[in-house]
Symmetry: C2
């Protein structure tokens, strides 16, 4: 069994080779540029972990892990266009550094390249892996579309938001684990539990992300706290506050969102506190985190093999606040 | 053996079913809209013909044909964004009717959907079909990138242009035929000949398209004649004229391209005639068309089976001017 750090190093051996042809350089160097700006590589590493939970890692898992990370980066390149984001991890986004057309086409070719890596695995496993991959890829697009739709709506419910977040971010984490499990020869039941572990963990992570954006310690969080509030982003916190606030407080919250006064962040945070959003979010995060742990528990392998995945879960879900 | 028209009807039975989930409607109805505006469906039909050249059409061929047509439409949606084209077949393009973000994401999900249809074929054929499909998809992106690169260059050679055209348009026609042949159980040698038939036919078709844009009868051609000249598009004709013109005529041609005078089309056409571009283009088209026919001839099946493909070739390459 290997730690996250060890598997990350093993993955990098496969991911740092040239993943694209040399020419046309105008098409492939933007793709290589974007891959070079890094990332935590959580999804490909948990794919390897999903394999190793059941058996020694097979070569095919590295190919699937590369496809997963390429897919994730494809979504980021295109999302950055849709969000008109100038920066990603402190570096210029592809459409900013090159052009919209280049970012569009480099993203397309990155998505196509995923399927080359998938097609390199043993044929006996290909239809199953391709099925999970395609379903997940489609769901990620659906999540992105819902996210854009929600920006223009003021009546988004918490249930809808959880569905959107599940599609946009959790299913890829879940499917990465599941594909690893399939490659490791796991039973269907075990595969499903591992998928559900990832799905619930992903939702817990997103709740935490929303929470930290409002209440986090800027030094620890490393982001501009209150960014979601400034941008009227429909987060877990905002949607809950809109649901539980008194009619008067709700009206005030909507006014702040519309008028964007200078003290908006401060005032919205005060409303969040008034609505007990803080303790509610913590409890909701715990609920999903515990559901994730229960699914991991339910997987029929000796608990010593689950240690690395438990560590990853603990690393993603911080409990020190 | 079936005619183009008969196979088109058979294809439509598979293609006119709902190819996407119902929701999110904001993601899938733009995709359905674009498919509804039609098209000649040449590529999926020649895929079926490639199968039938060797054996009775199998169900898998319809799935691959759907994937091919979805892929072609995906490229059109994204190309229309890159070209900022307001209309396609007289109808609004997706980014015009909806938005850039919607067109981007609907295109993405259409590409992903291709792989669902590919994954529905029998597993024994999947790796081979996926290999051809992925390679071709990558090449089509490369061709689009080269096309955009060439817009900003004034030193594009004819050889480079033929490479670009081959990637952007011919390889998909060629691969559609080849995948059909693979599904029909053809030998590797026969598959390659059929691929080369399609590749050469595609180039001949493009030469004809460039020719008709300059010298065609507007009534028959159905397009605004001279459009390529107005837009300084680097066509077969222009690149040849730039190569063979005297230094003085070349200078005049470049001046016309730069200054865009009112009588530009007329004057450029006069230069084309002076350079014998017309007969040169006809001869070049014949060269590629004959190469295509030779590859069809070289396929080891009785000639009576080749009748339908010969008719398609004759239909694509008109000889009445």
């Amino acid at each position: 069994m290997h730690s996250f750090k060890e598997l990350l190093e093993k993955f990098h051996v496969h991911f740092e080779m040239s993943l694209f042809p040399a020419t046309p350089q105008t098409l492939y160097s933007p793709a290589n540029y974007f891959l070079s700006i890094g990332g935590k590589r959580i999804r490909p590493v948990v794919c390897l972990m999903g394999n190793e939970l059941f058996d020694a890692i097979i070569d095919d898992s590295y190919k699937v892990a590369v496809a997963i990370e390429l897919f994730h980066n494809f979504t980021l390149i295109h999302d950055d266009i849709m969000d008109a984001a100038p920066l990603r991890r402190g570096m210029e986004t592809v459409h900013t550094k090159y052009s919209l057309n280049t970012a569009l086409l480099s993203g397309d070719v990155m998505l196509i390249r995923c399927y080359d890596y998938l097609n390199a695995i043993q044929p006996a496993l290909l239809p199953h892996i391709l099925h999970i991959f395609n379903k997940t890829a489609r769901e990620v697009c659906e999540g992105q579309q819902l996210d854009m739709d929600f920006e223009r709506r003021n009546d988004v419910t918490l249930t809808e938001y959880i569905e959107m977040i599940t599609l946009k971010t959790s299913v890829l984490l879940a499917a990465s684990l599941e594909m690893g499990a399939v490659l490791g020869g796991a039973s269907e039941r075990n595969c499903k539990h591992l998928y559900e572990f990832g799905r619930n963990l992903g939702i817990a992570f997103q709740i935490q992300d929303d929470y930290l954006d409002a209440f986090g310690d800027p030094e620890k969080f490393g982001k501009d706290v209150g960014g979601d509030i400034k941008n009227n982003k429909k987060t877990f916190l905002l949607l809950h506050a809109l649901e539980v606030a008194s009619p008067q407080t709700r009206k005030e919250l909507l006014r702040l969102m519309q008028e964007n006064p200078a003290d908006k962040v401060e005032k919205v945070l005060a409303i969040f506190r008034e609505c007990n959003v803080e303790s509610w979010a913590k409890a909701l995060k715990e609920k999903y985190f515990n559901a994730a742990l229960q699914h991991l528990e339910d997987i029929a392998v000796v608990s010593s093999r689950k240690k690395q995945l438990l560590e990853v879960a603990g690393f993603l879900i911080q409990r020190d606040y």
